[in-house]
C-alpha cells in the first residue's frame, strides 16, 4: 500500500455540483455566487489523502480473482479484460470535510446541500488525479467501483482491507458506507505494456 497526497489544491467542479443538485439551467446570480463562494471555502478545508495497491489478476472459468476469491461480476470482468494486473485505489477528502458539511447544516439546508454537492464533485476530481498519477505511462482500462452495476458493494470490505485504507483514515460501516463520507474506492485494469 502506498499513500498518495495531492500536489496542488483540490478544487470542486462547480458545474458538476450544480448538476448533482439538479440545478443546471438555474442561472440565478445569487445562487451561482453562493456556490462559488462555498467552493472556495470548501477547497481550503479539505485534507485529501489516497492510497493504492497493485494486484495480479487470476482467472478461472471466466471469473476474475484479484486476491480475495472469485468475483461474480460481468462489469468487473469487462473492466479487467485483456489485463493481467490491476490497481486498487481509494481517494478521500478526510474528516474535516464531513465536519464542514455538518456545520453547514446548522446554517441552512441550502448551504448544506451546496457544500455536499461540491464535496462530491471534489472527491471525483481527487480520484481522477490519483488515477492519472498511478497510470503514468501505462495503458489501462476505465475504472469501476463496487456498488455499480453487478459489481457488488460487498467487495468494498475486501478492497479496503487490501488497501489498508484505515491508515488514511477510511473506515467502512456495516452498511458498506465509507467514512469519511466523501471517499471513493475503485479498481482499473492495467494492460501489458508493449
Amino acid at each position: 500500500m502506498r499513500v498518495i497526497r495531492p500536489e496542488c489544491r483540490i478544487e470542486p467542479r462547480v458545474n458538476e455540483a450544480i448538476r448533482y443538485m439538479k440545478c443546471t439551467g438555474f442561472n440565478d446570480s445569487d445562487f451561482i455566487n453562493k456556490v462559488n463562494t462555498m467552493a472556495n471555502t470548501l477547497s481550503e478545508s479539505i485534507l485529501p489523502l489516497g492510497c493504492y495497491h497493485y494486484v495480479n489478476i487470476a482467472r478461472e472459468g471466466g471469473k476474475v480473482d484479484i486476491g480475495f476469491g472469485k468475483i461474480n461480476s460481468r462489469l468487473l470482468e469487462r473492466a479487467l479484460e485483456g489485463c493481467d494486473r490491476a490497481a486498487l485505489f481509494c481517494a478521500t477528502l478526510g474528516q474535516t470535510t464531513d465536519r464542514m458539511i455538518e456545520k453547514q447544516g446548522n446554517i441552512s439546508s441550502l448551504d448544506q446541500m451546496i457544500c455536499d454537492a461540491l464535496a462530491s464533485s471534489a472527491v471525483e476530481v481527487w480520484a481522477d488525479k490519483i488515477e492519472e498519477r498511478i497510470k503514468g505511462e501505462l495503458i489501462t482500462n476505465p475504472r469501476v467501483s463496487p456498488g455499480y452495476g453487478d459489481f457488488s458493494i460487498e467487495y468494498q470490505r475486501d478492497i479496503l482491507k487490501i488497501l489498508e485504507a484505515e491508515r488514511i483514515g477510511v473506515y467502512l460501516l456495516p452498511s458498506m458506507q465509507m467514512l469519511p463520507s466523501k471517499t471513493v474506492s475503485a479498481i482499473f485494469g492495467i494492460k501489458q505494456v508493449q
Binding site: 478526510g94 464531513d98 465536519r99 456545520k103 446541500m113 458493494i153 489498508e164 458506507q177
Partner: protein, 801 residues
C-alpha cells in the same frame, strides 16, 4: 529501574518495524499479523531476538492488531504475544529488555463523525488491557493513533484498568497534523493533562519529515518524547515493497532526533534490525541533551488546536448559558440543538476563542444534555470549550468525551467543591476556573480574594494539579449594589497576577447588573480589567461595544502588529452601526436595513430573503393579528413557491430559500401566538440505523418547518428503539424515515415494524435515494415521498390542513 526512569536517565532504543518483518516472512496483505502469535510463534520470537541482538532496549509485543473488533480470539493473541516477547526479553542476560503491550487503533471511527460510541471504545480498550493481565509487560504503548478522541478513550481505559506506565504514539503527516487535523501541540496539551508517561510519534512518514514534528513535541511538552519513523516511503520493485530511505541515511537522520533532546528512538514500517543496529552505533555516544524545561504555560485544546492562555487576552463566548435567555431555555427543554449550534457558529464567527457551554436547567437531564452539547458542538467547531456546570456527574461525563483538554468552569474555595472537581481534573485533564468564594462567602477586599485563590492553588497541588492549570476568577459583582465592587475586582486582578503568577478570568457583564445601558458599563469595565492584565473575558462576542473595546485594546497595548487587526475590524463595520453606535437599541451587531411595508412579506418569502421577511413580520404583527399574517401572507407565499417547484418551474434552492424566509417570519410571529397554536402538527424525522447520510432528510425538515410543522429531528444512524421512544415521549404519530443505501433499507423495515407493534395508529412516510413506491410498500410504510414538497402534501393530508 522502570521504563519511565530509564527514558529520563539515558537514551533508549525501541525496536523497528514488526509488520514489515512479517510481510517478508509471508504475511499476506490485509492479514491480521497478531494471529501469527498462534500460528507462527517461532517466527515472532526470532524477530524479537533479532532486535535484541541489534541492541534495542524495548521490544513491542506482536499485539498491535489484537482487538475485539479485528480478532475474535484477541485475548489469546495478546497472551501469547506477551509470552513470546517476555521469553525473548528474559533470554537477554547483559541488560534489561522492556516489553511493551502494543495496542493499535480499533479500526472504527468514533461518533460524531463515525458510528462507534465513545464508551464502547473505552470498553474495547479495557478488554485488551485486562486480557494482558494473563501475561505481563512493562508498559502500555498506544501506537499509530491518528484520531485524538480515540486516543483519549484508550488512555482513559488504561488509567481505569491498570497502573502500568502509559506511552502514547500518534501518527502525523508531513505537515505535522494527524488524520483528524490535530496538531502536536494539541495532543501534548491533552495527553499531559491526562498525565500519561511519555508522548511520541510513529509511522506515516520517514525520519526527515518526522524531525519537524519531533521539534514541535519537544517544545510543547515536558514529558519524555520518543520517535519511530518509517524507512521513508514505500514503492514497488519487482513485486516487492521497497522503502526509499536506506539504513545509512536513516541512522544519520536519527542522530538529529537525539541531538534535539528526544529521549527514545526506534523505527516503524520498513525498518529492520540492521537499521536499528546502525542507529544505535551512530547515536550511542551522543551526549544526552538536557531538555529545556517547558515554560509553565497555561494551555487548553480542541480536537484541532492548542490554545495558550496568558499571552494575549482571549474571549470566551457566554451565549450558550440559559440564564436570562428564554429562547435558549426553550431550546434546551426541547433538546433543540439546531438553536444551540447556531449560537455556537455565531459566536465563533464573531471572534470568540473559547465557547462556554452551560445547559443547566432544573427541568432537564443535564448529564446527558451536557455530553450531547459537547459532542455536537465539537463536530462543527474547532474552538476549545469551557464546560460550565455545578453538576459533578455532568462534568465528569463531559470531561470523558471532550475531544482535547477543556476549561472547567468552575471550582471555588469551598472544600466540598475542590474535593469534587480536582479529582476529575486530575484524571481527565483540564484547566480550571477558580472562583474566589469560600464557606464565608465572597470577601470584600482584594487581599482576601487573593488569599482564597492561594488556598485553591495549594489544594490543587495536593491532587498534582499544577498552578498553570488554575485560572482565577476574582468575581465581578454588580456595581449598582456596591459602588466599590468594580474597584475591588480590578485590584484583585492585579494582586493575583503579581503575587500568585496565575492567569485571571472574569465574567465581565455581571458588573452592570441592574443598570440601564449595560453595555456602556460593561465596555468601560472590560477596558479597565484588560489594562490590569485580564487574560480571559467571558462576554457576549456579538456585542459591538465589547468588540470595540477588545480590538482597540489589542492595538493600544502593542498586541496588533501594524494595526492590521484593528483596521480589519473597523473597516468591516457598516455605516449605520458607526452612526448609531452611541445609542444602540441593544448591544447586538445587526445589519438592519430600512424596510417598507409595501414590499410585502409575501414577496420576501417568494424571493427567499430571510432578514427582510423577519423584519416585515415584526412590523405587520403590530397592526395585524399574527395568525392572520400567517394565513394571508406566509401560507400563500409558500403555496406559490411549492406549486412552482412541483411544476418544475422553480428549483430546489429557491424552495429552500423561501422555506428559510418563511421560517424566519414564523419565529417572529410565534412570539405573539399561544404556544403550540401556530404549529400544524408534530413530526419525527430520522435517518435510519446504519445510515450516516442525512442531507436529504435535512432538506425535508427545513421545508416542513417552513410550513409550520414542529419537527423533532433525531439525526442520523438512529436505532429503531430510539425512534419508538421519541414517538412515545413526545406523543407523535407521524414519523418520516430516510435511507440512502440499499443496505440500510432493512433498518427502515425494522423501525416501521417496531413502531407499528407498539403504536397501532402510527403513520410512517419513507424517502431517500434508493427508496421508491415499491420499496416503501415492501418495508411496510404508509406513504412514499419523492421529495420535500411531497412530504408536505402527505403531512397536510394526514393532519387535515
Amino acid at each position: 529501574m522502570n521504563i519511565v526512569e530509564k527514558l529520563k536517565s539515558s537514551l533508549t532504543y525501541f525496536d523497528g518495524g514488526f509488520g514489515s518483518m512479517l510481510i517478508e516472512r509471508g504475511l499476506a496483505p490485509g492479514e491480521n499479523s497478531t494471529l501469527w502469535n498462534l500460528t507462527h510463534p517461532q517466527t515472532v520470537l526470532d524477530i524479537h531476538r533479532e532486535y535484541i541482538n541489534a541492541g534495542v532496549d524495548i521490544i513491542t509485543a506482536n499485539t498491535f492488531g489484537a482487538n475485539p473488533l479485528k480478532a475474535i480470539n484477541y485475548a489469546e493473541c495478546i497472551k501469547s504475544g506477551l509470552d513470546i516477547a517476555n521469553k525473548a526479553a528474559l533470554e537477554c542476560s547483559d541488560r534489561k529488555i522492556y516489553v511493551a503491550l502494543d495496542i493499535g487503533p480499533l479500526g472504527r471511527l468514533l461518533k460524531p463523525l463515525g458510528d462507534l460510541e465513545f464508551e464502547e471504545a473505552v470498553s474495547h480498550f479495557a478488554n485488551i488491557i485486562n486480557a494482558a493481565k494473563e501475561s505481563s509487560c512493562d508498559f502500555i504503548l498506544f501506537e499509530t493513533f491518528s484520531d485524538s478522541l480515540e486516543t483519549k478513550a484508550a488512555v482513559i481505559a488504561a488509567k481505569e484498568n491498570s497502573n502500568l506506565p502509559i506511552f502514547v504514539s500518534n501518527s502525523y503527516d508531513e505537515s505535522s497534523r494527524m488524520l483528524t487535523g490535530t496538531t502536536p501541540e494539541a495532543m501534548c496539551a491533552m495527553l499531559e493533562g491526562m498525565s500519561v508517561d511519555a508522548v511520541g510519534m510513529n509511522c506515516s512518514v520517514g525520519p526527515a519529515q518526522m524531525l519537524k514534528t519531533a521539534k514541535r513535541l519537544i517544545e510543547a511538552t515536558s514529558l519524555p518524547v520518543f520517535a519511530c519513523p518509517n524507512a521513508g516511503f514505500p514503492h514497488e520493485e519487482k513485486g516487492t515493497t521497497v522503502y526509499d530511505v536506506g539504513e545509512d541515511e536513516f541512522s544519520d537522520i536519527m542522530r538529529d532526533f537525539v541531538r534535539i533532546g528526544v529521549n527514545a528512538v526506534g523505527g516503524c514500517c520498513g525498518t529492520t534490525p540492521t537499521y536499528m543496529r546502525k542507529v544505535i552505533e551512530k547515536s550511542r555516544n551522543i551526549l544526552p541533551v538536557a531538555r529545556r524545561p517547558v515554560s509553565e504555560r497555561t494551555v487548553i485544546s480542541s480536537w484541532a488546536n492548542a490554545l495558550y492562555i496568558g499571552e494575549k487576552p482571549l474571549l470566551i463566548g457566554e451565549r450558550i448559558n440559559p440564564t436570562g435567555k428564554p429562547k435558549l431555555k426553550e431550546a434546551l427543554r426541547r433538546s433543540d440543538f439546531e438553536y444551540i449550534l447556531k449560537e455556537a457558529i455565531a459566536e465563533q464567527d464573531a471572534g470568540a476563542h473559547i465557547l462556554d457551554i452551560n445547559v443547566g436547567l432544573p427541568e432537564v437531564d443535564e448529564v446527558s444534555l451536557m455530553s450531547e452539547a459537547v459532542t455536537r458542538i465539537q463536530a462543527i467547531s474547532s474552538l476549545p470549550l469551557q464546560l460550565d456546570t455545578v453538576n459533578p456527574e455532568a462534568l465528569e461525563n463531559a470531561l470523558r468525551i471532550y475531544n482535547g483538554k477543556p476549561l472547567i468552569n468552575s471550582v471555588n474555595g469551598k472544600d466540598e467543591s475542590m474535593e469534587k472537581v480536582f479529582p476529575l481534573a486530575a484524571k481527565y485533564g483540564g484547566a480550571i476556573i477558580a472562583l474566589t468564594i469560600d464557606e464565608n462567602g465572597i470577601p470584600s477586599s482584594a487581599r482576601e480574594r487573593a488569599d482564597i485563590a492561594r488556598k485553591i492553588i495549594d489544594k490543587a497541588a495536593e491532587f498534582n494539579i499544577s498552578k498553570k492549570d488554575i485560572i482565577v476568577d476574582p468575581l465581578a459583582l454588580a456595581v449598582s449594589s456596591d459602588i466599590n465592587s468594580a474597584k475591588i475586582t480590578l485590584d484583585s486582578i492585579k494582586i493575583i497576577k503579581e503575587e500568585l503568577g496565575v492567569c485571571v478570568s472574569l465574567g465581565v457583564s455581571n458588573i452592570s447588573f441592574g443598570l440601564p445601558q449595560r453595555d456602556f458599563v460593561n465596555g468601560s469595565f472590560f477596558a479597565m480589567a484588560l489594562d490590569r492584565g485580564l487574560d480571559l473575558a467571558i462576554i457576549n462576542p456579538l456585542s459591538f461595544e465589547m468588540q470595540k473595546v477588545y480590538n482597540t485594546f489589542l492595538m493600544l497595548n502593542s498586541m496588533d502588529e501594524g494595526c492590521g487587526n484593528y483596521i480589519n475590524f473597523a473597516s468591516n463595520i457598516k455605516a449605520p452601526e458607526v452612526a448609531t453606535a452611541a445609542l444602540p437599541e441593544s448591544g447586538a451587531m445587526s445589519d438592519k436595513k430600512p424596510i417598507s411595508l409595501n414590499e410585502g412579506l409575501k414577496k420576501y418569502i417568494v424571493e427567499g430573503i430571510s432578514k427582510a421577511a423577519a423584519e416585515c413580520a415584526e412590523r405587520l404583527m403590530e397592526i395585524v393579528d399574527p395568525m392572520e399574517v400567517i394565513n394571508r401572507e406566509v401560507i400563500p407565499a409558500l403555496e406559490y413557491v411549492g406549486g412552482e417547484f412541483e411544476k418544475k418551474r422553480m428549483y430546489l434552492p429557491q424552495l429552500l430559500m423561501s422555506a428559510d424566509a418563511a421560517k424566519a417570519a414564523f419565529e417572529v410571529l410565534k412570539k405573539k401566538i399561544p404556544a403550540g397554536n401556530a404549529e400544524k402538527g408534530k413530526i419525527i424525522l430520522a435517518t435510519v440505523r446504519g445510515d450516516l447520510h442525512d442531507i436529504g432528510k435535512n432538506i425535508v425538515k427545513t421545508v416542513l418547518q417552513s410550513y409550520g410543522y414542529f419537527v423533532i429531528d433525531l439525526g442520523k444512524d438512529v436505532k429503531p428503539e430510539a425512534v419508538l421512544e421519541a414517538a412515545i415521549t413526545n406523543n407523535v404519530n407521524f414519523v418520516g424515515l430516510s435511507a440512502l443505501m440499499t443496505t440500510t433499507v432493512p433498518s427502515m423495515k425494522d423501525t416501521i415494524t417496531l413502531l407499528k407493534a407498539n403504536i397501532p395508529d402510527i403513520f410512517t412516510v419513507v424517502g431517500g435515494a434508493v427508496v421508491n413506491e415499491e420499496c416503501a410498500k415492501m418495508v411496510g410504510a404508509d406513504a412514499y415521498s419523492a421529495d420535500a414538497m411531497a412530504t408536505v402534501r402527505i403531512a397536510d393530508k394526514y393532519f387535515g390542513n
